[in-house]
């Protein structure tokens, strides 16, 4: 089953924490935990856009959307739901399962 939560968490732990993610809860703020810095957010956005084929608008670049695994999953689920292709619908359904 497609697990958006796990996939996003794996990306965060691999790319920003170099495998040391045991202490990171899905609700933890990336900024407060020192996981990413100001330049890291753009890496995160690039990953989302390239992997899930969505476009993050300027006004969506806020911690409420991107600053924890939970926030990311909720945000990306909303973005994917706005898409209409069968493949996207499958992703959305899987993420909400």
């Amino acid at each position: 089953m497609y697990d958006l939560q796990r996939e996003l968490r794996d990306f965060i732990v691999t790319n920003f924490m170099f495998g040391e993610g045991a202490g990171l809860a899905d609700s933890d703020s990336f900024i407060s935990k020192g996981v990413i810095d100001s330049t890291g957010v753009l890496e995160l956005v690039m990953h989302i856009e390239e992997t899930y084929h969505v476009q993050v608008k300027d006004n969506e670049l806020v911690p409420e959307n991107l600053d924890s695994v939970d926030n990311l999953v909720a945000f990306l689920s909303r973005k994917l739901a706005q898409k209409e292709t069968p493949a996207d619908a499958e992703l959305v359904a899987a993420s909400q399962a």
């Binding site: 170099f18 810095d37 100001s38 330049t39 957010v41 670049l61 806020v62 409420e64």
Partner: protein, 657 residues
């Protein structure tokens, strides 16, 4: 400029001679022109000389009064002409023309407090045979280095740590608490070094060693006290005073028996320094600069413009990321401490160009940003304070974008994120380290790579508390702008800018840097200026710009400030660096060293090699881990010798005893 070394112990003369010869030889790059030793009683002094003043008769160690006083001296006393005249009036007779002999006479005339009379950059040791004591001193700003240790009953000192480490009694161990400091503040706190039990005499300190006891004291400090008057008349007067002081600071720094050149970075400070020199010296000036292949870092357009404006004969070294990677092990060998940036490496290549051009001395603009309010961190703190006073404002966070016009990722950031990253929180306003919290927090992320053993060793240790305990009593009373200035001037300047990025990479190629902005009269004058004259709204170095109008190209005066930066992590992905990086950061090597976790280090390296986007924290982590690992190989395990000692020296020692 030179290298000094010495031993005070009861060991046999033969043992001390052998050890001191090795120590002085290790410092050959600092002084390739002559070497000398003096051993008498319990004292042994050594010297490697780069001849700049009095080429024919300034040999060291130098003595006075039939050997009752001996000195080994590194640096320059720029007002030695005036001091010598004063001493002659008092009946002192001189046998050389060197500034070193003036220091001996000053000691004889005034005792240890004489250093207050000197204007210069120095580290030296005087053996006073009558009192059986060693007097040590270091200049006010920490331009020249002085390290020491005790091993058994032996007191051992030198210009560089590598010279101390070749003494057979000295152990080689990393200081983990110092490492914790470097991975927070970019440099160890005063008196510490990256090596356990090896200390440095802090800037503006003197010390006396007698009967095995070392007494250390501070002889000078800046004090931030001013009368607020930013009326046009007062500003004009202050600009005139600053120019007068800087002209005199440059005038005495041009005293040398060899040609003097200058760095021209394309920024305001080096342009002002060059303008001062061209006013004072009629002959054509040679200037030098670094250009980068990466257009985002390159300032050669402004360098060429400045060189044309001043009519200098200008040389540039073009530097690629691969060039930095290729020389980085040599640079670490000379810096003797882990670093978070590769910025010292291009300056190492620049000083090589200077030396190859047959220059030994360059004047540069170092110190201006610290004392006259040029750094972005001052601006950043000002904006963050402004935001913290009204955290609900939607417009105030937009000012944060104005801070870093040269940084694309920050420009693309939303205000909400900027606000979070720059720690804008009203409750932080009372923190005396408010200005530096974002930088320290970002740097400290690298500590997540520390191994479990290192984390365990550091349990309960708080480097911020150690920083706090070393602050002067007045610190909490100073204006917030001055607090930030003090942190830069008292810590980052001597601990990194003037050492890893200054003395070490210049002296690696036997080049002496001189800094008019760090003349103590200029520093004291700047500390009496109101913060408004240093930064007017968000206009940095306001008074200096006012002073420099008409002296430097208008384009340099009006261009946005661009800090000196070099390619970091990208320097280690291709080219010559690949081979040693693979070796030094291998799982086996990282495990053996025990400082970092091998798995995350491998993932970090893979991230760079994969071509995926990387961030500032990644850059700092890779440079920090790599420099620490090279340092361990070179100095602790001694499994890696630097490829090239820049200067070779084969003459025999001149020994007196």
């Amino acid at each position: 400029m030179c290298g000094i070394a010495g031993i005070v112990s009861q060991d046999s003369t033969a043992l001390r001679t052998l050890a001191l010869e090795r120590m002085v030889e290790t410092l050959s790059h600092r002084g390739p022109d002559e070497h000398g030793l003096h051993i008498e009683g319990s004292a042994a002094l050594g010297h490697s000389r780069l001849s700049i003043i009095d080429l024919s008769s300034g040999q060291q160690p130098m003595q006075l009064h039939n050997g009752r006083l001996w000195i080994t001296f590194n640096g320059e006393i720029f007002n030695y002409v005036e001091l010598r005249h004063e001493l002659e009036q008092k009946g002192h007779c001189f046998s050389t023309k060197s500034d070193t002999e003036v220091v001996l006479h000053l000691y004889q005339e005034y005792g240890p407090d004489f250093v207050q009379r000197m204007n210069g950059q120095w580290s030296f040791a005087i053996w006073d045979d009558t009192r059986q004591q060693l007097f040590l001193s270091r200049d006010r700003m920490g331009v020249r280095p002085l390290y020491y240790t005790t091993a058994g009953s032996a007191f051992i000192f030198a210009s560089e740590i590598k010279a101390i480490l070749v003494h057979p009694r000295v152990g080689r161990h990393l200081d983990l608490q110092a490492l914790d400091q470097i991975f927070t503040f970019w440099s160890p706190l005063p008196s510490r070094t990256a090596f356990k039990n090896i200390h440095q005499l802090p800037p503006a300190h003197s010390a006396i060693l007698r009967d095995g006891h070392l007494k250390t004291w501070r002889y000078w400090k800046p004090n931030y006290e001013w009368e607020a008057d930013d009326s046009p008349r007062a500003v004009g007067r202050a600009a005139d005073q600053l120019l007068e002081l800087l002209l005199d600071a440059a005038r005495i720094r041009l005293r040398a028996d060899v040609p003097v050149g200058a760095y021209l970075s394309g920024g305001l400070d080096s342009a002002v320094t060059t303008a001062l020199i061209t006013r004072l010296a009629p002959e054509k000036l040679r200037t030098f600069s670094v250009a980068f292949e990466d257009a985002a870092l390159d300032e050669s357009l402004w360098q060429r413009e400045a060189a044309a404006f001043f009519g200098t004969s200008h040389d540039t070294i073009r530097c690629s990321a691969q060039d930095i990677g290729a020389v980085f092990p040599d640079v670490v060998w000379h810096m003797e401490q882990p670093v978070l940036r590769t910025a010292p490496a291009p300056l190492f290549l620049l000083s090589r160009l200077v030396r190859q051009s047959n220059f030994k001395v360059v004047l540069t603009g170092e110190g201006s940003d610290e004392i006259l309010g040029g750094y972005d961190i001052f601006k950043e703190a000002k904006v963050r304070r402004f935001i913290a006073r009204n955290v609900n404002s939607k417009f105030r966070p937009l000012l944060l974008k104005k801070l870093y016009p040269y940084m694309g990722p920050i420009q693309k950031q939303s205000p909400a994120y900027l606000q979070r990253f720059f720690h804008v929180d009203p409750s932080d306003l009372a923190n005396p380290f408010f200005s530096h919290v974002p930088r320290w927090t970002l740097t400290a992320r690298t500590k997540s790579f520390f191994s479990e053993d290192v984390h365990r060793e550091l349990t309960g240790y708080d480097c911020i508390a150690e920083m706090q305990s070393g602050m002067p009593e007045e610190f909490s009373q100073w204006d917030s702008f001055c607090q930030a200035q003090y942190l830069e001037t008292a810590h980052l300047l001597p601990g990194y800018i003037l050492s890893a990025q200054g003395d070490r990479v210049a002296m690696a190629n036997s080049v002496e840097g001189r800094y008019p902005f760090l003349d103590y009269r200029v520093v004291e004058f700047a500390s009496r200026l109101s913060p408004a004259l240093k930064m007017k709204a968000l206009d940095e170095k306001y008074l200096l710009k006012r002073m420099a109008k008409g002296m430097v190209p208008e384009s340099i005066l009006s261009r946005p400030k661009q800090p000196y930066r070099a390619p970091d992590g990208a320097s280690f992905v291709n080219g010559k660096a690949q081979e040693y990086v693979e070796e030094v950061l291998s799982t086996e090597a990282i495990s053996n060293a025990g400082i970092f976790k091998p798995g995350p280090v491998r993932m970090l390296l893979d991230k760079f090699r994969s071509g995926r986007p990387t961030n500032t924290g990644d850059d700092m982590a890779l440079v920090g881990i790599l420099s620490t690992s090279l340092l361990i190989d070179q100095f602790i395990h001694q499994t890696r010798k630097q490829d090239s000692t820049c200067t070779t020296y084969s003459e025999s020692f001149a020994t007196s005893s």
